[in-house]
Subunit: 175 residues, 2 copies
């Protein structure tokens, strides 16, 4: 039956220009296994994918939630991470989440938010190739693998990595 | 903020060999807008996608649910429809659902189940091209369009049609 995520609460951090599959696959997987998923963003409302006409409803402003409300944080890719990390309240939320030791999972361009949050120094991460330089400049070790887990940081590269990515998230939430 | 699907209950009919995006996109969209989504299949357990390593958990056996439990039915594509329609309890459930007048949405190979359920005669549907012949043989009018709505039947062709498909489902549930 797979992992039991009943009573688990997960935040997915999404903004304008999100990647549709990298958002919907983890969301569906987590809900399908019993978790409660909240879409957290800059403010409540509809945002659009950059790679299709799909939309998603941001249900919670990051300023209105606490890391205590969630058991894990997922940061999908697309153009949304570069946009989100220009906002201090987002960056602070992510930093606090990583520092708490709870699982934080980022795929594709998602790790860009981790760089801005200043939490990658000395850690080993993967990401889409275009993020390699800023990761290494921020003191991280970049590896080109489908899934990298370093402590509470779970990272993947591209949509094709999603099966392992979502399984790792589930495994981290309900070991 | 998009459609409000609070208190709405949707069944997604899935079996071995489902198409990952055609299952996860509607699931995530519906949940994101407030609906409760149940994955209905032949029996509870894990089934695998045919086009990736993604899995989904069937939460309810079709024999253990009633059409009264749901406000709409979604039938994703892949190889799952051809497999599901070999089982009488699935076919009966789908026939009863369509006859009830509640929205039934099928994409790609999903309409194969509608053919076996005997509910397409005199109706206009779309589907992936390979299903055209059996639709017309069953008395349906086949149209090659991204989205076709005929009464309570909502149909689409391919993953690229998903944005309109999921919007039509939401619109039918919460007009």
């Amino acid at each position: 039956m797979g992992p039991d995520l009943s009573d688990k609460r997960v935040a997915i951090l999404v903004g304008e220009g999100f990647h549709d599959g990298e958002t919907f696959f983890p969301m569906a997987h987590l809900v399908n296994h019993g978790a409660s998923v909240s879409v957290v963003g800059l403010e409540p409302g509809i945002v659009e994918a950059y790679n299709s006409d799909m939309t998603v409803r941001v249900t919670h402003a990051v300023s209105a939630v606490s890391i205590d409300d969630f058991d894990a944080l997922v940061i999908p890719g697309g153009r949304s991470p570069a946009w989100l990390r220009e906002h201090d309240e987002v960056v602070m939320f992510v930093r606090e989440f990583v520092d708490s030791g709870k699982p934080v999972a980022a795929i594709c361009h998602g790790p860009q938010v981790l760089v801005r949050a200043g939490v990658v120094e000395g850690r080993t991460l993967t990401a889409v190739g275009g993020v390699e330089d800023e990761l290494t400049e921020a003191g991280a070790t970049f590896v080109d693998v489908p899934l990298q887990q370093d402590g509470n940081l779970i990272t993947s590269r591209v949509p094709g990595d999603l099966p392992g990515f979502v399984a790792a998230i589930s495994g981290a939430i309900a070991p």
